[in-house]
């Protein structure tokens, strides 16, 4: 495939893969936690949290990107904090692209996991407690295995969404080849220059192949895991 794509195209594809994998992996624990909180806990501000998580789904991506820039940019409060204490800079770096992709994909991940969580009978968890399992062990030995298909579905969905992230990314980290130029950004650039159609088309095919394989794989793994859980 390296011969088929030019080095620039290959770089954009590899960067997108890295950004999406990191975004998905880092947001997964948070996704499980937020889904658990929304599904199981009654607390003040539950609706606010729910709205906040789903906001990127309804806001124009450019707005999300701009808000990220205001918060995590070099002059934003979170950006300054991260740079001073951890030496981490997000604005105009690939890590920033991962943050943008993670935020945009988060609602999809949370919804899928929450749906699976709500299907778990709390009575099973009560039974586990009566058998001596502390709440943490109940989660690890009962809840987690039972929601595994939902976690897989949510992760793959989030990964596919992260691969396609464009608006928030380009606003937050711009479009620097080799640094922040992800696959969709590269397609966008190729479409702007005369004669770039062929390169754009090659990347479009790559995007379609990645998205389709992700969906097929997720469906297949989810079914296999669900079969194992049901024991049939």
């Amino acid at each position: 495939m390296t011969d088929w794509l030019t080095p620039d195209e290959w770089r954009a594809f590899a960067l997108s893969l890295r950004v999406s994998l990191v975004a998905t992996a880092v947001s997964l624990p948070f996704g499980i936690f937020v889904a658990y909180a929304l599904a199981r806990w009654q607390f003040r501000g539950r609706q606010v949290l729910n709205g906040l998580v789903h906001l990127p789904l309804v806001l124009p991506p450019v707005v999300t990107g701009y808000l990220l820039l205001l918060t995590f940019g070099r002059n934003g409060w979170a950006g300054q904090f991260l740079e001073q204490w951890f030496g981490v800079v997000l604005a105009f770096r690939w890590t920033g692209a991962a943050l943008a992709a993670g935020v945009m994909a988060f609602p999809l991940m949370v919804s899928a996991i929450r749906l699976a969580m709500e299907a778990v009978d709390p009575k099973l968890e009560a039974a586990a407690r009566s058998l001596g399992a502390s709440p943490v062990w109940v989660f690890v030995t009962v809840t987690l295995p039972l929601i595994l298909p939902g976690i897989i579905a949510g992760t793959v969905l989030a990964f596919a969404r992260a691969m396609g992230e464009f608006g928030a990314t380009i606003t937050f980290v711009s479009n620097i080849p080799g640094q922040t130029q992800t696959l969709p950004s590269a397609i966008h650039v190729f479409l702007q220059i005369p004669g770039g159609d062929a390169a754009a088309f090659r990347l479009v095919i790559v995007a379609i192949v990645v998205a389709c394989s992700a969906l097929v794989l997720s469906e297949w793994v989810s079914r296999a895991v669900a079969r194992r859980i049901r024991g049939t």
């Binding site: 009560a126 407690r129 058998l131 001596g132 399992a133 049901r230």
Partner: protein, 364 residues
């Protein structure tokens, strides 16, 4: 090992206020649906935090609201058998059975093979719950609770979701458990037949209150409490020992005041049986009847006559030390002039005793 419960809890439109002790053996909480039985066991398990409670099991205080003490459910060491079984679908039968072991101190509690033998589930260990029948699921749920090495067992209508054939399959296992483990068992039921067959101690619950509590044999033969079981279900239990198996398919038992016969009970001579005699199956005669088909004619003494609000009357009879109930009409009670102390004959058809009303009494 005794469980002692004092409990007060207010729900919207319903208040629970109970206090009772459960000695070793099986204590049945009997009452209608909605009388608060499940709330009581959930509070004992720690799944519900009552307004006021003091719950002590085997000398260990599980909850004491006065001292702001509420042990979380996983520290109470209570085996809870739920109505729906609640087996973990993602684990095999073996993993389900051993689930409680992951959290118990090492090498405590009964042996896996002993319990699987006791419950007859040794062949199911590698299966998943989805591949089990209703009766098998109920037995695995029982085994899982016992293997967690509990201080006491709670059973919330473990047979309610099973049909009659499955119930008959499980009842002997429950009897064995009761007699072998010596754990206090708190057993929630609204079935008079189950209670009569299994309970050593009885706590009658009505609208969130204890209306009577005491030894099961005593409460079951008391005309005053019979209405709590429903008149058709009122009946006392007799403990009878098998004497011989007779050639024509009958089993002869040593009754309290003479021999009794029942359709074949498959057990060796000497086996003690717990037999429920329904009040409506007992007929009374002033003189020993002759030329009747009924096989069991036992001399008895009238202890108490309780005239009901309707056309019926309940008569408590003493057969030696044992007590049974007879349900007759008020008219018959008056015609026969039944008064306490009167010598009568109790007539019981052998075939009127249903097989599921004959249990094992080895542990009594």
């Amino acid at each position: 090992m005794t469980l002692s419960v004092t409990l007060r809890h207010a729900f919207a439109g319903f208040a629970l206020d109970v206090a009772f002790d459960a000695p070793p053996g099986l204590t049945a909480l009997f009452g209608r649906s909605g009388s608060g039985k499940t709330t009581i066991v959930n509070a004992v398990a720690g799944l519900l935090r009552p307004d006021h409670a003091r719950i002590v099991a085997d000398g260990v205080v599980l909850a004491d609201t006065g001292a702001r003490l509420h042990l979380p459910p996983h520290r109470r060491r209570i085996g809870y058998v739920f109505q729906e079984g609640r087996l973990f679908p993602h684990l095999t039968v073996r993993q389900n059975l051993l689930y409680g072991r992951w959290f118990a101190p090492p090498a405590t509690g009964p042996d896996l093979s002993h319990i699987t033998d006791l419950l007859g589930i040794g062949a199911l260990l590698e299966r998943r719950p989805s591949a089990l029948s209703g009766g098998e699921k109920a037995r695995v749920a029982l085994g899982r609770a016992i293997l967690s090495n509990p201080r006491l067992l709670l059973m919330d209508e473990p047979l309610a979701s099973l049909d009659e054939a499955r119930k008959a399959e499980i009842l002997p296992y429950l009897e064995r458990l009761r007699d072998e483990t010596r754990l206090p068992i708190l057993y929630v039921s609204h079935s008079a037949a189950e209670v009569a067959r299994l309970a050593n101690t009885l706590v009658l619950i009505e609208a969130g209150r204890v209306i009577r509590a005491g030894p099961a044999a005593q409460l079951l033969s008391d005309p005053a409490t019979a209405s709590a079981f429903g008149l058709r279900d009122a009946g006392a239990v007799l403990t009878l020992r098998i004497e011989a198996q007779e050639g024509d398919g009958l089993t002869r038992l040593a009754g309290p005041t003479g021999p009794m016969w029942l359709p074949r009970v498959d057990a060796p001579p000497g086996t003690p049986l717990r037999v429920r005699i329904l009040a409506q199956d007992v007929m009374l005669a002033l003189t020993r009847p002759v030329g009747v088909s009924a096989l069991n004619i036992l001399p008895a003494t009238v202890r108490q006559v309780r005239i009901g609000d309707g056309p019926g009357a309940l008569v408590q009879l003493a057969l030696g030390d044992a007590l049974i109930l007879a349900r007759i009409t008020r008219r018959s009670a008056e015609t026969l002039n039944l008064t306490p102390g009167l010598a009568v004959h109790a007539v019981i058809k052998a075939v009127s005793v249903a097989p599921q009303d004959i249990g094992d009494a080895s542990g009594d």
